[in-house]
């Protein structure tokens, strides 16, 4: 084969990831006991095409694994074996493993061979058992973990961001070490040269052998904080099978089981059979043959899939470049418009008409480019059916997941960052919100609880709601906890909304005992921080016995923001409209001083503190008299304040520029933008500002 196949790699990876998504979806729909043959066929085709593709490209590890998988699927397809819970679980795990392998190969990283061979072993045991004991119904029990003379093997591979998110593997391993006798093996293979090493990135991975009577939950709890920031695998290995790659797998009843794990021979065979027939290996007998390559069929499939949707794949870098250029154009256009307004004379009118046209075109161009980056939120929602299924399973609850508004689009960057907060919320609903079936039935509710995810556009924002029909937030318990922790005074009376706000405080947890699902209060404060870092907000409402509802409001894109320009002395600041409640002029009468210090004013029956921007930012204002300037009532973290400014200037969409590229983070400032005259204006981060100001008052 002289054709350079690497040109097809990208297409292969993309296709395979999509195919795996389809496989996962089909697996989730699969009825235990009475599987739809069409679904099994779909699943089989995915495994088959990935096997073919990987053999063609010489990804022998993947080819070898998918071969075992295909053998099992073939048994299911022919009806020789029944679909049990256990089989379905192993198949779902296979999806994960294939994804991980493809990702590793794509990133030219080593494959986690241990994880692959563990699962491949499981697959082969199932196949082998079928041959050993024909009645399929007898199968499920045998693969259950062997007796107590076992130890745990924990494979912990943090994602790079783990450290930056405040998680330290050291702490986790220390906790783990307290559970039992532990042996730690570090994998520093992907540790780059010191000069290329970003100190905040984690490039290490660990394999931990833990012996002793330790429940799996206890191990999982150790890694709770890192959930979503690492790959974690916990397996029980019998002493004898601790090194499966060395040991012969027991009971190799079929030739498939004796096939060596990842090896060169597979590649060689694949090559020599490159011209082989492209059809699927027929039934069980063919299982022993090496994976067959299909050099022709894969690229064709890639082309046809692309053709179907009439779309092309474009790298995100190119789009970002386009966005930047358009951003520059918008600034130049604003500069021209401002200049144009100053001209007089016969042609001035024409100039202005032209500029107005330019402005319209610019806005359209900007919106079109922005739309290119937009993706439907279904990309995030699609992970939930699987997650909910697994969680409900583990917690012994019945959960129905409802997804609506999946086609709502938002910016890719926002999309990527909203996943984790949503996972936390959904997990929270299932763990704390939905009651166990008995309790639900006793309360006159259906045994199965409902978790509902919904997305809608609201103005320039997207609102994502996570609601459940569980017990609702327990106000009394939240209050009791807040009092016990001294977060509020013993006699403070709080409104419902204020009580619910308490759950967003760092370290707050209302679960009576920590569970291995939502852990020790990790979550809500992290969720809020993440949402805030995207320029959004999160609100909660709840009704006892009826359930709770979390609403996340986010800007559609991180590239622009709708802002109100305000003047303080000679400086201009931008206040994001999403934070503004209203703007007003203060009369002398409605301002008072608390204990001669903090200034407050009355607003809709509440007293709000006044933050003098000129003081916080150290600039010389036009006026210090409150009644001569204006107050912008702004909201952040559920708190309202009045921002005292000299004047309001106007509302406009501004392009957000990072201050961190060349300088650094400034408390109370989220970024900067370039105004029509070419000067720079800072964009306020209202929640951050409130924090800064309250520290000043406290100091």
């Amino acid at each position: 084969m002289t054709v350079d196949l690497t040109q097809f790699h990208d297409a292969f990876f993309e296709e395979s990831f999509e195919a795996l998504d389809a496989m996962e979806a089909a697996l989730l729909k699969l009825d235990i006991g009475a599987p739809d043959p069409e679904l099994i066929n779909t699943i089989f085709r995915v495994a088959h095409s990935i096997k073919g593709g990987s053999a063609t490209f010489g990804f022998t590890d993947i080819a070898s694994f998918t071969h075992s998988l295909e053998t099992l699927l073939d048994e299911l397809r022919s009806g020789a074996m029944a679909v049990t819970d256990q089989v379905s679980d192993v198949l779902l795990k296979s999806v994960d493993v294939m994804r991980a392998m493809l990702r590793a190969v794509q990133a030219k990283q080593p494959i986690d061979a241990q994880r692959v061979s563990d699962l491949q072993f499981d697959l082969e045991v199932i196949i082998a058992r079928k041959h050993a004991a024909p009645p399929p119904s007898a199968a499920p029990q045998a693969a259950a973990p062997q007796a107590a003379a076992a130890r745990w093997q924990v494979r912990f591979r943090p994602y790079r961001e783990l450290l930056a998110r405040g998680n330290d593997p050291l702490r986790m391993l220390r906790e783990l070490g307290e559970l039992g006798e532990m042996q730690v093996r570090i994998d520093a293979q992907s540790l780059p040269a010191l000069t290329d090493l970003q100190p905040q990135d984690c490039h290490l991975a660990w394999t931990i052998e833990l012996s002793g009577e330790v429940p799996e939950e206890a191990i999982r709890q150790v890694f709770d904080w890192a959930e979503g920031d690492c790959e974690l695998q916990i397996g029980r290995t019998a002493e004898a099978a601790a090194e499966p790659q060395v040991e012969q797998p027991p009971a190799p009843a079929t030739p498939a089981a004796t096939e060596p794990a990842p090896s060169e021979t597979v590649a060689a065979q694949a090559d020599s059979q490159a011209e082989g027939p492209p059809e699927a290996p027929a039934a069980t007998g063919a299982a022993a043959s090496a994976p067959r390559a299909e050099p022709a069929s894969k690229p064709e499939a890639a082309v046809s899939a692309h053709g179907d949707s009439g779309s092309i794949r474009v790298s995100v870098d190119k789009i970002d470049e386009l966005m930047n250029t358009v951003g520059e154009l918008v600034i130049t256009q604003a500069m021209l418009s401002q200049l144009g307004g100053q001209f007089d004379g016969p042609q001035a009118e024409q100039l202005r008409a032209g500029l107005a046209q330019l402005e319209r075109n610019m806005r359209e161009l900007q919106e079109s480019v922005m739309r290119v980056r937009m993706l439907p939120i279904s990309f995030v929602f699609s992970r939930f059916p699987r997650m909910v299924r697994d969680l409900a399973h583990r917690l012994g609850k019945q959960i129905e997941l409802k997804l609506t508004g999946e086609q709502t689009e938002l910016d890719k960057t926002v999309l990527e960052k909203i996943g984790d907060p949503l996972v936390h919320l959904v997990r929270n609903c299932i763990d704390h919100g939905i009651e166990p079936p008995e309790k639900r039935v006793a309360a006159g509710k259906p045994a199965a609880g409902t978790v509902h995810l919904d997305a809608t556009h609201r103005g320039g924002n997207i609102a994502v709601e996570v609601s459940d029909d569980g017990g609702g937030l327990d106000k009394e318990r939240i209050l009791a906890k807040a009092r016990a922790r001294g977060l509020i005074g013993a006699n403070d009376t709080l409104s419902d909304a204020e009580i619910y706000e308490l759950i967003f405080l760092p370290g707050f947890s209302t679960a009576e005992k920590t569970t291995d699902v939502s852990g020790r209060g990790v979550g809500m404060d992290v969720v809020r921080r993440n949402v805030k870092s995207l320029g959004g907000k999160i609100e909660v409402s709840s009704e006892a016995g009826r359930g709770s509802r979390f609403t996340i409001t986010l800007p559609l894109t991180l590239a622009i923001v709708d802002g109100q320009s305000v003047a303080v002395g000679s400086e201009t600041y931008i206040v994001p409209l999403i934070s503004i409640v209203e703007s007003m002029q203060l009369k002398n009468g409605n301002v008072s001083r608390l204990s001669g210090q903090a200034e407050v004013f009355s607003f809709r029956g509440d007293y709000l503190p006044i933050i003098r921007l000129h003081e916080v930012f150290g600039v010389e204002p036009h006026t210090r008299a409150l009644h001569e300037g204006l107050v912008v009532v702004a909201e952040g973290d559920g708190r309202r304040v009045g921002l005292f400014v000299d004047d309001l200037l106007g509302q406009q969409q501004v392009v957000i520029k990072s201050l961190e590229t060349n300088y650094g983070h400034i408390e109370g400032i989220s970024g900067a933008t370039i105004l029509g005259d070419g000067s720079v204006a800072l964009i306020l981060d209202v929640p951050g500002l409130i924090r800064v100001a309250s520290m000043r008052i406290a100091a």
Partner: protein, 90 residues
């Protein structure tokens, strides 16, 4: 080079800078971890990369002393031999 009592992510950029400056040092670099009070994975990762890179370049690194805190952290992470801490006095 004497490691500071606090060796954590917060100062990792500084630590990296200091270590990078010593990478090409011809003579044996002696690290002193006796003062280390708190150390995290980020800092240990940098030290591991430093020790490995020096060694790959055929240059020596040795430890004058290592505090108990640092020693136990390195052991927990399975880094003892990577850092060749074993021969260092505690």
């Amino acid at each position: 080079m004497v490691l500071q009592p606090e060796c954590t992510l917060a100062d990792a950029a500084e630590l990296k800078g200091a270590l990078c400056a010593l990478l090409a040092h011809e003579a044996t670099v002696t690290l002193d971890g006796a003062l280390v009070d708190r150390i995290d994975t980020a800092a240990l990762q940098l030290l591991a990369a430093f020790v490995r890179d020096r060694r790959l370049a055929g240059r020596a690194v040795e430890w004058r002393a290592v505090s108990r805190a640092m020693h136990s952290a390195a052991q927990l992470l399975g880094m003892g031999s990577m850092l060749s801490l074993s021969e260092a006095a505690q």
